[in-house]
């Protein structure tokens, strides 16, 4: 079946739509659960992780990669959860984290600012001015976050398969449209697309595990053949090789694992 990602602004009824789609299709509905899982799995304070994936990186953080580390943990937790398919994810940047997977249906839900402000006022019992300011700040942060980390604008419609404006199209209509589209054959997992998903999850998991031990690496996987590229040399590279060898028995799904040193271009086959 399919993986559905719903990109949405706060208070734009995206959450309600995601839950209804999940109920209608009998799928799991994910959002905050991913933060909890990442926090639990990689032993990071939940609040730090939440802040890292919500706020755009500062100038200093763009040099120190402080935020990108947390994002790696988050992406690993997300890919682990969605690899089994039949999932509706309405959290942050699903269409980017899971990019390249053909059975991924990318939906963006937008709604009128005045309606979002009204929803926020009703839910949190605050003034119109405060509600508007919070929503606009939130939108700005999210836009900045994606632009600074991935160089794309989340408001660019070409990133999605469907963009639905909730106004004349009601929540129920949107749910019907999404359920219908998710049933199309191209959004059903094939052996190739499932393999791609498994490879992505595997690469993310290995990267997160190595990052947890302060190795700055990039990881790719193709049919379980994993390539770890690192800038390490000498003793550090040796340590990385040793750790990588252990990973073969720790992480399931690895057929072959290679460590490439980008600094020396030397290749070590494990």
């Amino acid at each position: 079946m399919a993986i559905i990602t719903l990109s949405r602004g706060s208070y734009s009824k995206g959450k309600e739509i995601a839950e209804k789609v999940a109920a209608c299709m009998n799928y799991d509905c994910l959002s905050r659960e991913v933060i909890l899982e990442a926090s639990d799995r990689f032993n990071i304070p939940e609040i730090k992780l939440e802040k890292a994936i919500h706020d755009a990186p500062s100038i200093l953080e763009r040099f120190t990669h402080g935020k990108s580390d947390y994002i790696t943990y988050y992406q690993s937790a997300l890919t682990r959860r969605v690899r089994k398919d039949n999932v509706v994810y309405h959290g942050l940047a699903g269409h980017i984290f899971l990019g390249g997977i053909s059975h991924l249906l990318k939906v963006r839900i937008i709604s009128d600012l005045s309606m979002r402000v009204r929803n926020k006022m009703e839910t949190e019992n605050i003034s119109e001015q405060d509600a508007r300011a919070i929503i606009l700040k939130d939108d700005h942060e999210r836009r900045n976050w994606t632009q600074k980390l991935y160089g794309v604008d989340p408001w660019d419609s070409s990133l999605y398969d469907l963009v639905i404006f909730i106004d004349k199209i009601t929540v129920e209509d949107a749910v019907n449209i999404i359920c219908r589209v998710a049933g199309f054959k191209q959004f059903k997992a094939t052996r190739e697309s499932q393999q791609k998903m498994d490879d992505l999850a595997l690469a993310c998991e290995i990267k997160a595990l190595l990052l947890n031990e302060h190795f700055d690496v990039s990881v790719t996987s193709d049919y379980g053949n994993v390539v770890i590229s690192a800038k390490a040399t000498g003793r550090q590279l040796q340590k990385l090789n040793e750790r990588a060898t252990q990973l073969i028995s720790e992480v399931s799904g690895i057929n072959n694992l290679e460590v490439h040193s980008e600094a020396t271009q030397r290749q070590t086959v494990i």
Binding site: S158, Y160, I164, F165, K168, Q186
Partner: protein, 274 residues
């Protein structure tokens, strides 16, 4: 009993989907064929009208002023067709000027940018990279034009009810999504939405009439009552008001005309130096 307005980054793709939608719904298809009638009525070339819709950058052949005039003629014709109801309109830039009418379903068909660049490169015999650059420039120019002329960015997703990307979804499936969506109760015409459309059509007709003499005029209609805003010098005020009223009051459907005069500071300043 609705109107479906389809726009697309690529005219041909939008046309295919619009024609199939019209066929599936039993609606009339209103496309660029109506431009022939406009060209005959105003003694223009049909190609120029197509260029006014498609070409983003001003050229020697097509100044901004001429484009504005041609768009006014197209608007008049399209809104006239829309009054007939049960139509699928495509390729006439109606998404830019048919706003605030609740029984119009506004759909944008998105084409995968990479695929579009590849096709463009193949057709125009150039590298994909160059095609990407050209298309990005064209997109930017169109955004600027729609913003200056219609006061919004045509790529803004909040200006559409639904956007469907053809990168994963087949055209036939897109047609099914559109036909199912338009059946929603919210896209059925109401007295108010029909009135809004009639007002837009009346305003477009008046604007065409004023276009030659007063090209900077803006027209708003409300049930036969018109508010016309025009730029000019204070000394011309009374004469111009009278002339505009005389022109507008002769149009069928107009009950009352109010002319709002906007002082033209730039012309005033330019004339004071003479």
């Amino acid at each position: 009993m609705s109107i479906i307005n389809i726009s697309s980054d690529v005219y041909e793709e939008g046309r295919k989907i619009a024609q199939k939608t019209a066929e599936a719904m039993g609606y009339a298809y209103v496309g660029r064929e109506i431009l022939r009638g406009v060209a005959e009525k105003y003694h223009l070339s049909e190609t120029k009208l197509v260029d006014a819709i498609d070409k983003a950058a001003p050229t020697l052949r097509m100044s901004l002023k001429l484009r504005k005039q041609l768009m006014a003629y197209i608007q008049e014709a399209v809104l006239g067709e829309m009054l007939k109801d049960n139509i699928v309109c495509q390729g006439l830039a109606a998404h830019l000027y048919v706003l605030g009418v609740s029984h119009v379903l506004k759909v944008r068909i998105l084409i995968d940018p990479e695929e579009r660049a590849r096709n463009y490169a193949q057709t125009h015999n150039m590298s994909v990279k160059k095609a990407e650059k050209l298309l990005a420039r064209e997109k930017k120019l169109r955004q600027q034009w729609s913003f200056s002329e219609f006061r919004f960015d045509e790529t803004d997703p909040s200006k559409y009810d639904l956007m469907v990307s053809l990168s994963q979804i087949d055209p036939d499936e897109a047609v099914r999504i559109i036909t199912e969506t338009v059946c929603s109760r919210k896209f059925q015409p109401m007295n108010y939405s029909e009135k809004c459309l009639k007002d837009l059509e009346l305003a477009a007709r008046v604007r065409v009439l004023l276009m030659d003499k007063y090209p900077s005029s803006r027209v708003q209609a409300n049930g036969g009552n018109l508010i016309i805003e025009t730029l000019g010098l204070t000394r011309e005020k009374r004469k111009r008001e009278a002339a505009i009223k005389e022109l507008a009051e002769n149009i069928p459907g107009v009950n009352y005309v109010e002319v709002h005069f906007i002082h033209d500071f730039f012309r005033q300043a330019a004339e004071s130096f003479r």
